[in-house]
């Protein structure tokens, strides 16, 4: 259905800079044929929103090692305010079990904990990206 590759923004928001995980995942997604937009760490939420808009991404992957996932709910509400409802957000890294609910309720599509396989990440991002595009087209037709 999609002739152009899925577009994924791989980023880190907040204060931490550990980027081993985001670099490896970005390489995996790129190898699987997706278009990856990669940012340095320490992005503000505003930056991520405007980049997502400019680059017309389907999925945003947020990598978090040291508690930066705590501001992902803020990212979700800013995405909605910016009318980017169709963009799927996944979080990868260290998210303690008791904080999964908070992210799920905020609208995060998937949390990849440590040890998630390459295969699972690629499969899930492909599905979410395809879904995001469909959603965008459907919404576009509707309005």
């Amino acid at each position: 259905m999609n002739s152009t590759p899925i577009r994924v923004l791989v980023t880190k928001i907040g204060l931490d800079g550990h980027d081993r995980g985001s670099r490896v995942v970005a390489a995996y997604l790129r190898d699987s044929g997706m278009e990856v937009i990669y940012t340095p760490p320490w992005q503000t939420i505003e930056n991520v929103i405007s980049l997502a808009e400019q680059e017309d991404v389907d999925v945003i992957g947020v990598s978090s090692l040291a508690t930066d996932h705590l501001i992902v709910p803020d990212l979700m509400s800013e995405l909605k305010s910016a009318n980017l409802h169709h963009v799927a957000v996944v979080v990868g890294g260290i998210v303690p079990d008791n904080e999964h609910d908070m992210l799920n309720k905020a609208g995060v599509s998937k949390i990849f904990g440590p040890g998630t396989s390459k295969e699972e990440i690629v499969k899930c991002v492909t599905e979410l990206g395809t879904g995001a595009r469909k959603y965008k087209i459907d919404e576009g037709d509707f309005f």
């Binding site: 907040g14 204060l15 800079g17 501001i71 303690p96 440590p114 040890g115």
Partner: protein, 569 residues
């Protein structure tokens, strides 16, 4: 100048001294080959060295003992840098702590001291690592991963009741070293002379921050270079018992470098810093005795031990032959080890206690000077209280019950360990050659060479895990249903206390002596443009005039520029 390669030869005279040796060896080999089949035919360690099934007298020439090993406390220090090692003095039990407000930190640190910790560390909040104060970042993130310390006053509260003239303090304190400035401000308030302040500026190694985890604040590369040399010069004169340089191998290994690459990058970085100081006119023998190293200890047990023994030997030769140091104290490779966080798993987290015990044992057998053992919940959050206690207890058990300190360098003379030490040395020297050919570490990092090497090794390691060629219990094998039930609740600071801390900080800022502050900040700005002044001295003075961490950094950032990360995927 290139590092001189040393070659190690196997002992060809063994046959003469041990009649019948060759015959017996061949017989074993035949029997081994017949039974092993194709199973485990090639095993390589993380540094890519092929591991034999058995080692013997042919693998290590004991006639080289005096040259290659010698005795503890004697160059080249392969067996340890002091003659008594852990029999004479136990390693410093230095647990990394950082959480919440200064008062939260103080409670935790005093408890750890009561439990036997002999030295302390301070990890500041990530907001500090971004170069800003607590009133400039998303509130939810404050104190979740480090203590919010922005002023001398905060440091004074964090160290309340801690005798700073007796306890050594290690600060995770990147350029421009505001935390040390806050400690010195605290010393001034308490009437403690600077000479009695001991400890280490962890994270002074700005090069490692450019290549690895991007966790720490960075000025531009030339700006960081200038501030580090100023810092060394200031401490040498005013805080003589402080270690101003800690060269960090931990970051690159955590980011994916192999153990051999890690040691190579770290030693090349140490050469860079020493040469920068020497160029500024400092005598190597007045600075090198205060150089320290900070490493990761992974679970690759023998490889780690060989890494440290080889590193010690190489550094002794570099300090002597390349840097021209004459005082044996300059040749000693003093290091702090931290058990490796990337080896820990969020799955079945209690398993991490076993991993940490193995990693710590490797560190102790390697003859370290100071040790941090990770808490079993470190793959999930900043350590909580009970896991932190177990981590300290692990060190006590290894020392008191397992008696790991009774013998100095107990693995010395093992055919395997000696051969592996020689092989690791060769690998490390190969890495250092590459860096030298690229024009030294400063240049190699500016060109992205080191970052590329680390990225490649990180990807290769991950692919081995994906392919199950490297097994991780609870992650790609021995999986258990509901294995995450034991996950401890992560540490999160109390929001009300934190809110009060931020409000107090805001009102503190408006109550300062503005003229005194402006003057100190102005003179800090001037020093940045004048190579004849010492920037760190002005950081210390500005802190004592109540300047905040964020204010100091914003001025230096304007004057010296910011170190943007180089993106290499």
């Amino acid at each position: 100048m290139r590092q001189k390669q040393k070659t190690y030869e196997s002992d060809t005279d063994t046959q003469l001294e041990l009649p019948g040796f060759e015959l017996k060896r061949e017989k074993w080999q035949e029997s081994y080959n017949a039974q092993i089949g194709k199973k485990n035919s090639h095993i390589k360690n993380r540094s890519g060295i092929e591991i034999q099934p058995m080692y013997g007298p042919l693998d290590w020439n004991s006639k080289q003992y005096l040259d290659d090993l010698g005795f503890p406390g004697e160059s080249p220090y392969t067996r340890g840098i002091y003659s008594t090692m852990h029999r004479g003095r136990k390693w410093s039990q230095r647990q990394l702590i950082g959480l919440g407000t200064p008062e939260d930190y103080n409670k935790r640190v005093r408890k750890l001291l009561d439990h036997g910790a002999t030295a302390i560390s301070l990890l500041p909040c990530n907001s500090g690592f971004r170069g800003v104060d607590c009133d400039e970042v998303p509130f939810q993130l404050l104190g979740t991963c480090g203590t919010v310390v922005n002023t001398v006053q905060h440091m004074d509260s964090a160290l309340k009741g801690v005798p700073i003239d007796e306890i050594s303090t290690a600060m995770n304190d990147p350029t421009p070293f505001t935390l040390l400035a806050f400690v010195l401000g605290t010393a001034r308030r308490r009437g403690v002379p600077f000479e009695s302040i001991t400890g280490t500026s962890n994270q002074s190694d700005y090069i490692s921050h450019y290549v690895a985890n991007h966790m720490f604040y960075r000025l531009s590369q030339p700006g960081s270079r200038r501030v580090l040399v100023d810092h060394v010069a200031y401490c040498r004169k005013n805080v003589p018992n402080w270690n101003p340089v800690s060269v960090v191998g931990q970051h690159v290994q955590q980011a994916g470098a192999t153990p051999a690459e890690t040691m190579g990058f770290t030693l090349s970085t140490a050469i860079q810093y020493a040469e920068d100081c020497i160029e500024r006119g400092m005598d190597p023998d007045t600075i090198l005795p205060r150089f320290t190293f900070f490493f990761d200890i992974s679970i690759s047990f023998f490889e780690e031990i060989a890494k440290f023994r080889a590193g010690r030997r190489i550094w002794a030769r570099i300090a002597k032959e390349r840097l021209g140091a004459k005082d044996p104290r300059s040749w000693r490779f003093k290091f702090h080890g931290q058990t490796s966080g990337v080896d820990l798993t969020a799955q079945q987290p209690l398993n991490n206690i076993a991993r940490v015990a193995v990693q710590a044992s490797a560190g102790i057998f390697s003859g370290l000077q100071s040790l941090h053992t990770d808490s079993y919940d470190e793959a999930i959050s900043c350590p909580t209280e009970e896991p932190a206690r177990i981590a300290v207890a692990t060190q006590n058990i290894l020392r008191e019950e397992a008696h790991l300190c009774d013998v100095i360098d107990p693995l010395g003379g093992s055919y395997y360990v000696e051969k592996l030490t020689n092989q690791m040395e060769e690998e490390i020297l190969n890495v250092m050659d590459k860096i030298d050919q690229a024009g030294g570490m400063y240049q190699a990092v500016g060109d992205g060479l080191v970052q590329k090497m680390i990225g490649k090794s990180a990807l290769a390691a991950q692919e081995k895990i994906e392919a199950k060629a490297e097994k991780i219990i609870g992650v790609n094998c021995y999986l258990e249903e509901n294995s995450n039930v034991e996950q401890p609740e992560p540490y999160r600071p109390d929001a009300i206390t934190m809110k009060a801390h931020v409000e107090k900080f805001k009102s503190f800022k408006s109550s300062r002596d503005q003229n005194k502050l402006d003057e100190a900040l102005h003179s800090l700005r001037e020093s940045a443009g004048d190579i004849n002044q010492n920037i760190f001295e002005k950081v210390v003075e500005a802190s004592s005039a109540d300047a905040t961490h964020g204010e100091i950094i914003s001025i230096l950032r304007e004057e010296l520029g910011f170190g943007h990360p180089m993106i290499i995927t």
